[in-house]
Symmetry: C2
Subunit: 247 residues, 2 copies
């Protein structure tokens, strides 16, 4: 069987973390190889002062539902239980000073990178979203308003745009909850279409962390929970980022 | 149990097709409710003359692998076995003269719509892709080159961008192979990351059509098939579009 890239990198990273251990992806206690606490990950991920533009802030395109729920969650951040995650133009900005594990280097002469869910910069036309994270309960809420550039069937968001939004919210949650770095699987069941310009609320939960993997669930629904748009489960691979001496 | 939107619309459409039948989503012979042949669907979908811009044409950003494989498949279209699908700015243009089944109307004052996978118009920065369809074998090939606006991990395509590309290729294939209209489920297993700017080849196959559903599979890999990027299965709901008297 061909060994996949993820497996290869996981093996390398694991051997580095636990030298001498001959097993591929054995059962690990989270703290053994993944020592960074959620607190320190969040502190690094959410700098108090930065010159980077945060795209997860209200703008004139946000519908009233999105705006009022944003305010509700912003209130909850005051207690320190919830954290509003900033959203920069690229993951390169999110992981400044760190780099992917050895073995994962992509050579390129490209300059202008954007994280996929921030690929459209026109306000309201593409992805509008903000993610709130609850560190102690390892859960997140994403407020998502798809614009008309995310269309699939006329007037409705493309299923793929919701899939990507779920993957991205899983991704940020997985990283902060336990250094989950790569999507291993997504299993999505679509129930209803999301009208373009309306709010979908994604509730994400880390179900368990086991064998170097995070198991997560997501339900996307209307604010009043009367309409389920989709349900999703996802599995992420834990891998530690490395210090980047070039930065 | 709350009835989902898809189920409700399917029921309405089915009752319309087979009045008097009391069953919800009974077993249907494909030809009974879904009479359009693949030939007529393809003929309508691929107009010989149109003023609409086709985005699935080579441009200066295409890598040599993408360009040469495109030429290979273009040669195959000469025998009539393969068809190159045009790719317009919006699905509204793909289904001109038709509309979604009754019960699926989204009111909006938006004007500038784009299908999600054509949301970025800068050549080479976002989605570059072209789909070839094989009507008699109900299979497709999608040549996909992700640009730097589709980034996830630095230097690599976001898993969500591949998920969306798979969903979109499934979608076009499902429609032409048997009037598959809505994604019911996607099940994706990611194996390796796709470097930004490189070619991924998606091979899609309709596995079976049963109970008003199309069951499909996809494998995304490098051109030489040495690297599997992801495998996916998808289920689509069959529903007939309706004539739109307003057009």
């Amino acid at each position: 069987m061909m060994r996949t890239g993820f497996q290869r990198v996981a093996r390398l990273a694991h051997h580095k973390a636990l030298p001498g251990n001959p097993h591929l992806l054995p059962r690990l206690h989270q703290a053994s190889a993944f020592g960074s606490s959620t607190h320190s990950l969040v502190a690094r991920f959410c700098p108090e002062k930065t010159d980077l533009k945060d795209y997860a802030l209200p703008n004139a395109s946000w519908c009233p539902d999105m705006l009022s729920l944003y305010q509700e969650f912003l209130e909850k951040t005051k207690s320190g239980m919830w954290v509003k995650l900033p959203s920069f133009k690229s993951n390169r900005e999110h992981i400044q000073g760190l780099k992917l594990p050895s073995g994962l280097v992509a050579a390129s002469d490209k300059q202008d990178w954007r994280i996929f869910t921030r690929c459209i910069q026109l306000e309201g036309q593409g992805y509008e979203y903000v993610i709130f994270f609850h560190p102690s309960e390892k859960k997140s809420v994403c407020l998502f308003q798809p614009g008309p550039y995310l269309e699939g069937a006329p007037g409705f968001a493309h299923g793929g745009s919701l899939a990507a939004m779920m993957d991205e919210t899983f991704s940020k949650t997985a990283y902060l909850a336990g250094e989950g770095l790569f999507t291993l699987s997504l299993n999505i069941r679509f129930k209803n279409l999301i009208p373009v310009g309306s709010l979908a609320v994604l509730d994400i939960q880390v179900e368990k962390i086991e064998d170097q993997k995070l198991y997560m669930s997501c339900i996307a629904q209307s604010r009043d929970k009367q309409t389920v748009y989709a349900k999703c489960s996802g599995v992420f691979l834990q891998l530690q980022l490395e210090e980047d001496p070039s930065q």
